[in-house]
Symmetry: D4
């Protein structure tokens, strides 16, 4: 497993092959990174290239919309967005991109993330956000990998195979922990 840095990495992550990122990981504040880097870790494990950045719906709305509007054209195929409280980032990005957006409810000091969850998942008809569990950034990364792997072509098929192998490893680990 790769080691994720303690702060949002200053340049888009690339694997050894220099591949362009397929997944954009964004968050409203760098204080969300300790949660969100688990998404990056999962993508590292599955060999999916990604970038990571701070994009705040509330503090830099114009840049946020520009990020969303440009994502598909830059070659991204999934956006993973984490936010807490009145968490508007995933839904606003979903409003300005045709790409699937995965939302991670980041728990804040109060309410155990229930506000974050409802603010992300209860989107109006027309603009979906693929919501994962409270603090579930690892699953957000895995979901992004499943989405990239659902496409056509050899790369997607290879990723699908790696996902099957990953699931088998979960089973083996569970076995090893049993009696």
């Amino acid at each position: 497993m790769s080691n994720q840095p303690a702060t949002v990495p200053s340049t888009p992550a690339e694997d050894a092959g220099g591949r362009a990122p397929l997944v954009g990981i964004v968050m409203g504040s760098d204080s969300d990174w300790p949660v969100m880097r688990e998404a990056a870790r999962a993508l590292d494990e599955l060999g999916v290239a990604y970038e990571a950045d701070v994009v705040s719906a509330h503090r830099m709305p114009t840049e946020m919309i520009a990020y969303g509007e440009g994502a598909a054209g830059r070659g991204l195929r999934v956006i993973v967005a984490g936010a807490g409280g009145a968490a508007h980032l995933p839904g606003m990005l979903a409003a300005v991109t045709p790409l699937p957006v995965v939302g991670v409810p980041v728990p804040l000091q109060y309410l155990d993330g229930m506000d974050s969850l409802l603010s992300i998942v209860q989107m109006p008809a027309g603009v979906p956000v693929a919501t994962v569990s409270i603090g579930g950034a690892r699953n957000a990364g895995l979901l992004a990998a499943r989405i990239v792997g659902a496409g056509e072509g050899a790369e997607a098929a290879a990723l699908r195979e790696r996902m099957v192998a990953f699931q088998a490893s979960l089973r083996d680990q569970a076995h090893a922990k049993g009696a």
Copy 2:
């Protein structure tokens, strides 16, 4: 009390004196109007000019941001925004205007508006929304009137007087209902 139309009025409301609107009432969908027109009614009662429009954070994000960015320059002094579910409109407007934004949690089919309330009130530090009760559009209108009346000058003072009189009328009505 004025009669509010059954749909969002097609032009900005003006009182007989042709005054420019001081309050902008916006909502994510015209299905919110049966709730939101109570804000308009309250402003009519207090003699505060307003406009009303559909401005959706999720379906017309660019126009929504333009609305917020232009509001202060057009002479608006308060924005009243209603939205339901993952209700992003009040918070996004608050991000792009220096004006006070009053948020009305509109209840949808499920959860009794608790999702709308949390999505509006739990804003991050830096970007406040003045949230009223679930479905509380009348109070949103009254709050906007209090805000307009808090300013300097003769008009504000006169409005403040009308607010005092309005509060006295509440007391008189309550008395009349008692034994």
Copy 3:
């Protein structure tokens, strides 16, 4: 817009071109169909082929697992699963397929779907479900279309274009409803 039948259609839906389904819509009971057919409607609108079936985690677990294990091999690229209460169908399918699974919390008689939502979204690390809003089957269909459109190749690109056009139509409708 196509008309969806009042019961789960008895054969996999195909469009005029006879294309094989890319999305599998499943639900725990045919009583979920009035909610879930909105997913089918959305896929019809976007021109994505799908199938629909009743697959109950609790009443036919063996068939449910077989459905999930065979889905990728049969050519499906996304599964949309709706369930209510202790809603186990989306998560169990996600455990046996490498495909992305979209979960729809179906509201039952009590609790307004909050039990359904938590049972679907709070999946453990390793097995993600892309959860949409309570009763949000239309968004589940749209999310499935975004996922299919995120892949490589001409068909995905064309679908992405249709999604962009669909989003523009949302904006136009919202405009038409405003003042």
Copy 4:
């Protein structure tokens, strides 16, 4: 009171008499053992033989179903299953066995186990799970003992007597703590 080991015991527990287990204690992850071993302790106190194992609904679904399908044939008479979050293990086991299944909502990092509780207790008609309190593994063990003691024959009657004595000891302890 017996001392429970710090990890899931590697072989089925047996009492001195070498009796076959009547209760199967299973959990989704060995991280649930610190909660679930209280069920084992209670069964030790009441003299009911049991086995304990990790059986994950999400990471080893095929083995999980095999466990449930084989339980009655192997002589088990009750299954006690603990799980957290989107807790599917108790309900899935109940779907594949005619035995009573006792579900223990294990609390995770957020939501205080409310998600676990609703995911376990809100089962659809046809497939019951006997749910105990959040983190209530001790009561799950006691409930399993009551169930075993509810049957016909001398062993059940003897266990019922031990349960009566156990309840008397609760009363005596409460008395001793009073003034």
Copy 5:
């Protein structure tokens, strides 16, 4: 399927063979019967003899305790107790009997049964109640049947077989509803 009467039956139910009741169905008020008779129906379907009565923890506490203390001696093997709001009946009965007690949270006018659920399921260590879903009386009856079927002897084995057949019928019905 048997037809349940509209009010709590005035004498203990017996099947054609005149068997003594094995399950006692009790509730705090006859207004709970429209919910609770589903437990009776399920036991009819599985061929398990039962009795039904109003036993209120709050309005006739002495009789309630007498009912619980005498239940095992009279030959009952399971108690099914339904109650709403501050629902104390299941837990109080569990305190005075060594038999397994199944609790049914009956939903009242407000709170959708969440108060009933927590009042029943959150029992302190030492006194378990086997809680089913809100309004889940049918599952309470099925759980009681599983418990009776978990015992030793030919009758229990025969009941276990009927439960297996019942589960198969659930599967067949689900199949018939699918495509």
Copy 6:
């Protein structure tokens, strides 16, 4: 302010004048004493004699009912009962005494006392419990004092005077803390 002992006092508390207790403070477990002794402290401050004891609804139901049935005859005028989780003690005592019963929801490890609150406050029509805030034992003591002071005669009038003085001291303390 008197110092309360660290465990439930072993004999009924009496003031220097040897007056018989007017308030009975009971709790389900001595682990509730650190919360409940605040009720005793408040009664000490107001000069109201009380007794304190462990009386468990679930572990010693017969004694619990005897306590309630005998309370009025022994001269008690109010019962203060604390309990947590599925908190049945206050409601069961209210069922067997004509005295007012004050219920204190004791918070347990999970759910922040919400289960305790609903289990105590949501009593059925006919059997009221005077519920105070979660963990609010001090207010329970003050409420018991108000109740004793509401009666006729010189002692009640004197207690009412002490309550007025106590309220004035609250005001003075608040003033002292202000600017």
Copy 7:
């Protein structure tokens, strides 16, 4: 049982003997009367004299405080106060009277009275409110009767006897409804 009028009675209720009211029933709005008159009915049944009035914390705060400050001096011994939403009436009255105040959470259009309950029951240390169930005005009346009956003297003793008889009648009714 007496018949309560459809609106708040215009003069204090008195029984045939012309006794001065001992209980004051107040509510924030006459729209609360359909809920609150059940308190009056209960007091009629128990033969306790009362008055009823509209006293709004928010619309006539000065009169509300005057009502509370004068209550004890006028001979009232208990105040029963109902309010909904941000329900401030019971707590504000408790702040200005040494009498026990019983609070009734009146459910409004949304949230099923949970906001009313928390606004009434979660009072700070120093100022207790005796809270009953959501919509539980009948229990509020019965609790007021218990409080009046807890005092010294012949009248209180007689009321206590009537309460015992009332509780016996509850038991008899429950018996009659049983089998």
Copy 8:
């Protein structure tokens, strides 16, 4: 950024220019100051003069009403009120002043401030409170500044300019934290 003292400052805060306070910051107890001083900090940053004091609705209701009734006459233009639990201070002040009142739900030991939030935001029609997030005193200060800046005249315009600059600084900080 100014340093706020550890206790409520003993005299109204003034800036160097000796301006009279425009915002009154009040709270129910000095234990709320660690939360509420963030409102003072925000006003310091924006250059808005304020005063701070302890004004308890429950412990000094007469003074509380006097504070509210006199606020507008003393030149205040906004009141910021923080309170926890059954939080009545913001709503009671709003009942006796025509000024806009900003409410801060202060979280207490249990329930994470959900009781505080509902007690403040769910005000009845006629008496609005501008509610901010749980513990969101900083946003309360910023909202008060927006309100003061919404008025007419040069000072308001200058404050509006400072608010725009403040929002730009938020954006710059967010950028600096991104990649």
